[in-house]
Symmetry: C2
Subunit: 210 residues, 2 copies
């Protein structure tokens, strides 16, 4: 068995796939065990090959973690930007965002894992500096939600608390829920979205819509 020259791109593709595979396994492990407690052997075993081979694709455990953090932050930002651009009212946007995020928690694991990873980066002193920096610099999703809330307040459908306070609670509440889900995956039922919505939207407006 040998590799013909013309398979070069194909090989590249295989390499990328391997890297993806490592990342997706590492994401779960890092999220569930934390950075420090996740061993390279855990990742290699989950990926189905030997421990040494990891270093063919990544230079270190840190590098894997940083790659995952970058990815998680990018996905969240992209979603926030997309949300802001949609031709919807502020009310509709907030409802859509909460709905989607809850749905993400209900169906997929990925969203929850991303939250857990970012939380580690924010909280823990035992996380690569590069990862901490990336997360700290990323406040876009807070700003987007704060802008939507402000717009909704001007428009009259939102409660008139400090918009940044509201945006903070928007994200921290969802985050808290994601953490809960991570610890109770088996019997986790997503709560009624309207409870969260009532932190932001005036009651009569909300009940009118429902």
């Amino acid at each position: 068995m040998f590799t013909s020259p013309r398979n070069k791109e194909s090989n590249e593709r295989v390499k990328d796939e391997r890297r993806e595979q490592i990342l997706s396994n590492a994401l779960i492990l890092f999220a569930k065990k934390g950075f420090a407690a996740t061993k390279i052997t855990d990742i290699s075993a989950a990926s189905g090959f030997s421990q040494g081979l990891i270093y063919h694709y990544y230079q270190s455990k840190e590098e894997i973690f940083v790659a995952l953090i970058k990815n998680a932050v990018a996905i969240m930002n992209a979603a926030a930007v997309e949300l802001e651009r949609l031709p919807l009212t502020p009310l509709e946007k907030i409802k859509l965002a909460i709905g989607k995020l809850l749905q993400g928690l209900e169906e997929g694991e990925q969203v929850a894992y991303h939250y857990l990873l970012i939380n580690q980066a924010v909280i823990s002193e035992a996380i690569p500096d590069e990862a901490k920096l990336i997360v700290e610099e990323q406040t876009l999703r807070y700003e987007v939600i704060a802008r939507i809330i402000s717009a909704g307040q001007r428009e009259g459908s939102f409660k008139k608390y400090d918009a940044r306070d509201m945006a903070l609670l928007f994200w921290t509440s969802l985050n808290g829920l994601a953490i809960y889900k991570a610890g109770h995956a088996d019997n986790f039922k997503v709560p009624d979205a309207n409870i969260l919505i009532s932190m932001f939207v005036l009651e009569n407006i909300n009940s009118k819509e429902v």
Copy 2:
């Protein structure tokens, strides 16, 4: 220098103090770095003595962590029980609870550290089984809040979503906030309590009271 026989109790007291000292330092370290990344030398250094001496007071790193978890859970439960017993209306109880918890976040670090510790125990697979068990068995604070909410609904001052959903969001939202604070201790300002309250309490009731 020798120890006279009659100093026995005094010695016991010193020993207890040392143990307390170890615990309070370990709490911060475990909360900030996580269980796996916290080294015995970190704890001994923070406490100002040699690494070996820790083992005079505790048998292992696990034992320290478990002691801390027990303590954290006990404090939270005690507070919940106390809250339920107070001669207040459900409305007053929920407001008091949110107020106190936010205040705890604002002033002290301890509450936030307890949250972080319990989160680790719930989420992480790299945590001593005994600690996980203790936390899993402790659902009292959820039950207490659910009961208060149910009472408030019967009484007519609370929103009529599923009481367990509401209790879940009560705790996960506060928890999410504690995590945020842990990562932004320097410039963290507690949000307006009324935003959280509006998840539970009917708007006209709440504004009447304020």
